[in-house]
Each structure stands twice: as C-alpha cells, then as structure tokens.
Amino acid sequence: MNNSALSKWFVSREGVYYLLLALLLVVILPLVLDPFRLNMVGKYLTYAFVALGLVMCWGKAGILSLGQGVFFGLGGYCMAMFLKLEASSPENTAIQSTPGIPDFMDWNQLTELPWFWEPFHSFSFTLLAVIGVPVLLAFIIGFAMFTRRVGGVYFAIITQAIAAILTILIIGQQGFTGGINGITDLQTLNGWDIRTDEARTTLYFICVGMLFLCLFVARLVQNRKLGRILMAMNAQENRVRFSGYDVAAFKIFVFCLAAAFAGVGGAMFTLLVGFMSPSFIGIVASIEMVIFCALGGRLSILGAVYGALIVNAAKSGFSESFPELWPFAMGALFIGVVLAFPDGLAGLYRSYVMPLEDRLFRRDKDKGAPVAGTAASKPAAANENDDEPVIDNYSPEKS
C-alpha cells in the first residue's frame, strides 16, 4: 500500500472502525480506568488474540477447533518458563536443596534443570518459542488431519481430546511443569519488575500494540486472494480443490495462523497476570474462547476484540454482583448467539447501525461498487466489499 492508498484507507469506513477501536483502547480506557481495571482489560484482550484466530480459522475457513486453549497455554507456558528461570536465580533460591532451579522442581526432588527448560534462559529463544511451539503443534495436528480430510465435528472432537491429554500431562508431570498450580510467582522480565502498576500499564500498551499487529495480519490475509480462497473452501471445498488448490495446505496455514495468534495472546497473558496454569488449556477454557468469537461475529476481525472484551467484562461484572446467575447468562449467550444471531454483534451492527450511518453521513453508495476493467491498478475495487463492518460503540465498561 503506498502513501496515498494508506491515507485513503484511514478515511474509509473500515479505517474509521480501526481508528475508533484504537481510540478506545489507547486513549479512552487508560484515561477512564485505574491501573487495576486497565490490567483486567489487558487480560481480556489476551483472549481477543484467540478469538481473532478463531475468526480466521472457524469463521472464514469453517474449521472449528475446540482446543485453542492448548496454543494459548503453550505460548503462555513458554513465556512463564523464561520468567520463572529469571525468578529462580541461585541467589533467590539459596534456601533450596538445589539452588538455581524453579522452586517446584526442588520440591519434586529434581536436582538439575530438565533439558527442555535450558533454552528458555534466552529471551530471544523464548520469543521465538512463544509463536514457534504452538505453530509447530498446530502444523503436526493440521498435517495429520487435513491431509486425511478430517474436518467438521470430527476435528472439533479430536482437538478437544488433545486439550484433555495435554491437561492431564501437565498436571501429572508436576516436577517439570509445576502441575496443577502452574508456574507462579513470576517477578521480572530481563530485570524489569512486571508487578508494578507502571509495568502493568506499559504491558497493557504492548498488548494493545501486539493485538493491532495481529489484526492487521488477519486483515491482510482476509483481503487478499488467500482470504477469498478460505471462504470459498468453507462453502465449496471440492470446487476449490478442483480449481487446482491444495486445500489441506490452506487449512494447515490458517490453523497455524490461529495457533500463532493464540500463542502471542498466551504470552501476553502470562506477562499481564503474572502466572500460567493448566486451567487455560482445558476443555472449558477452550470452548469459552469460541463464544468470544461467536459473540463478536464469527466473520468479523474487529468483532473478535469486542466479543472478548464484552463477554469478559460482563463475566466480571456479573460474578461480582450475581455469581449464581453468570452460568445462566453464559449458557443463554451460547444458545442465543447460535440460534438468533449467528453473525454476532457484527451482524447486528450491519443490519441496524450501518443503515443509520449511511443516512447520517450520506455516504456515497457507489463507492464500493465494482470498477470496470480500465481501473486495473485498483486492487481495492472488489476488496472493499469484503471488509467486515464492525461495531464501534460498545464499551466493555458499561456493565
């Protein structure tokens, strides 16, 4: 995109939606909320990474994974391992029988660091692993399943089983993983104390930055031919295949992309919350992440962010005042979204708010219309139709 195209994009309808989200996350929320609440919003945003992955993987390509928590957890554990090693310096752990290893290893009679922990002394390796480990696992699963045409419900159930397996393994191998308690008491990142308010606020902004990076990657994929192939594959898999595409490769790609997003989200979660535990890998956590995506609108990239924010803010609000009602509300949300609003908030926005906008701003109706062949240099012609409109006036703090 050259400069003029970029500036054009910013004043386009879609650009306005992105700007509004940025305004909300970067300016409004930090001004309105105290650092404690802002940190909670940051935590919700880490789920938005997973929801974003699900939009690409489930919404666009029709692959429902009930094991996204696995990738979120792996990313989070990679980051937690690095932080835990930093917190377990020989000086900090002098009272242990083996100083210099994490406390839970010492309790489990480990006398040296397991080999797979060693590389996590390096920060650059950790950053690589945060994305690399989830993507590698996603690739293995995807390769095995998609080349054999496992899909739909079968894929959902197998990913769920994988989540179950990993949870049992992590809980059982507590000497290596911290078991059910997870990896706790993380303190500093390269010497920088991540527990202070200032650090948490900084991390919040880093999280927002990473989220926008992922949003733009997702948007790029969506608006390229790649995005159209994914959608087409969802509707007419055979036609795509017999148009000469290796369908499995596309599925593997989008599944890995979703895993990468989830891994980044998990790492940000660890940094913002200060620990990682197997409860985020399990079945329940993984399915909840699907609802964030479904509520926002399974086809809408920005919807994923609002979905994650709204569901979690509602959860916090509800469970502070009416803890018993929350599961009812959550259950009703699942059923309602599926039965009545399959396109989620984005769908509602499109049917009810966008016509209003059109009337208010008298937008040029022909703008999105296709351009004839003479305008060959304009890639935007058809693309603009694909851009997902999204809600922009929902504040997660309304609860």
């Binding site: 790029l220 994929v221 390229r224 031919k225 790649l226 159209r228 192939i229 959608m231 087409a232 509707a235 007419q236 055979n238 036609r239 795509v240 295949r241 017999f242 148009s243 000469g244 595409y245 290796d246 369908v247 490769a249 596309f250 790609f253 219309a369 296709p370 062949g373 060959a376 890639p379 012609a381 058809a382």
Partner: protein, 252 residues
Amino acid sequence: MNAAKRKSGDFLLAVEGLTVSFDGFKAVDDLSFYLDPKEIRVIIGPNGAGKTTVLDLICGKTKASSGSIKFAGKELTRLKEHQIVHSGVGRKFQTPSVFEDLTVFENLEVSYPQGHSVMGALAFKRDRAVIEAVEEVAETIFLTDALYEPAASLSHGQKQWLEIGMLLIQKPDLLMLDEPVAGMSVAERKKTAELLRVITRDHTVLVVEHDMQFVGDIADRVTVMHQGRVLSEGSIEKVKADPKVIEVYLGH
C-alpha cells in the same frame, strides 16, 4: 478397433484396465478408452453405469483400485487432485458448484491459474492480465453483463456456464463436464452446445450426458457404458444401431 493398436502415448488421455470397487461392488470394471487431442467425446449409459465415477477417477476425487490413467504421457492415478488440475485436467460437477458469495468476476479470478500456493494466494495481485483474462472468458460464457453480480443471483443455467468458465480460465487441455445441460431451458441448451463447439477449438472435452438430442448435436464420438464396462463405442449413429445398446436401453 484401431485405437488398441496405437501406443497409449499418442493419445491425450488413455484409460486402461481401470477398476474401482466400493465394498465389493465394482462401479467401474476393467474399463479402457482413449481420447484424441481436440476430440469431443460423450459418455452415455443408464443410471448406475459408472459414468460419473469415471470422471471422479480421472480427476482424482476417487482413487482407483487398479488400472492406469495416462494424460499427455503422465500417470494421473498417483497424483493429488490439485496436481491433476495443474497437469491440465478441469472438472465440472453435476450440480453447479460456484462460490455464491463471490461475484462472477471473483469466481473467475479465484480460478485464474496463478497464486495457487498459500503464499502465492497471499501475494496475488489483480493486474491487467488477470482482468483481461477474466473479461475474455466472461464473454465466451455470455456473462459479461453479469460480471459484478454475486454468483448467487445467477440463473441455474448461468451458474453452469460460470462453472465452465472457471474451468476455461485455467486453460486446461481436457475439460470434463458432468451433465452440463441438466435443468437448462431449450434456449440455454442451444447456447451451451454453441459454447462447447467454441471450446473444442482449443480443448479436448469429455462429457457425461443423458440428453440424446444434445449428444447428437455435439459429439464426435460416443462411449456407451453399462455396469462399469464399455458396451459400445463409435459415432452416434453407429452406437444407436448397436444391438447391445438397444438391448440395454430398451430391454428392461
């Protein structure tokens, strides 16, 4: 039959001893036939004769139990579907399968033979060559005016043409069409026959069809299948006169 004496490499497509069975039922049984370049061949036969299965086998949708399919000297039975497409075989399905959410333009663009890998699809740009190719094909398939309509709004017949167009833009050597005129009006059938004649100027075409009138309009040669085997082969007149064919069609 003179075909048997020629080497299989001389043909565009040589199917030999092809067999596939589903749980013991042989849908295609030791089938052999040969296509010359630029030929238009129609496969006919009663229901359940295995016609569609033959197309499935050639394009790789179904894997053969035994036998060989040589296309331009290349063995297809071991290739994956998209590799078969890349070697120059296009396939249209019985029910039109176009991407309803996309416009006609986008449907054709998606089929344009470029950017077929994941990274290619990410880097793909709609340049002048693409637009020209799309417009050219659109004209061939009578859809120039509907280029920017969503495919969902097309009539049944137009969708059939669109799918043929999606094959054409790939520039395949062999087009396989499964019942291209099913559900079309008389006028649309005429236009389709016309379309096929245009296509055969540059392509070899293999058609599965029921409509004998249409078959007579287009076919160079006809292969009659029955219970997974070739019953008869030759010009439409010759086949119509074959007592075996009459037996199968009228005998019960």
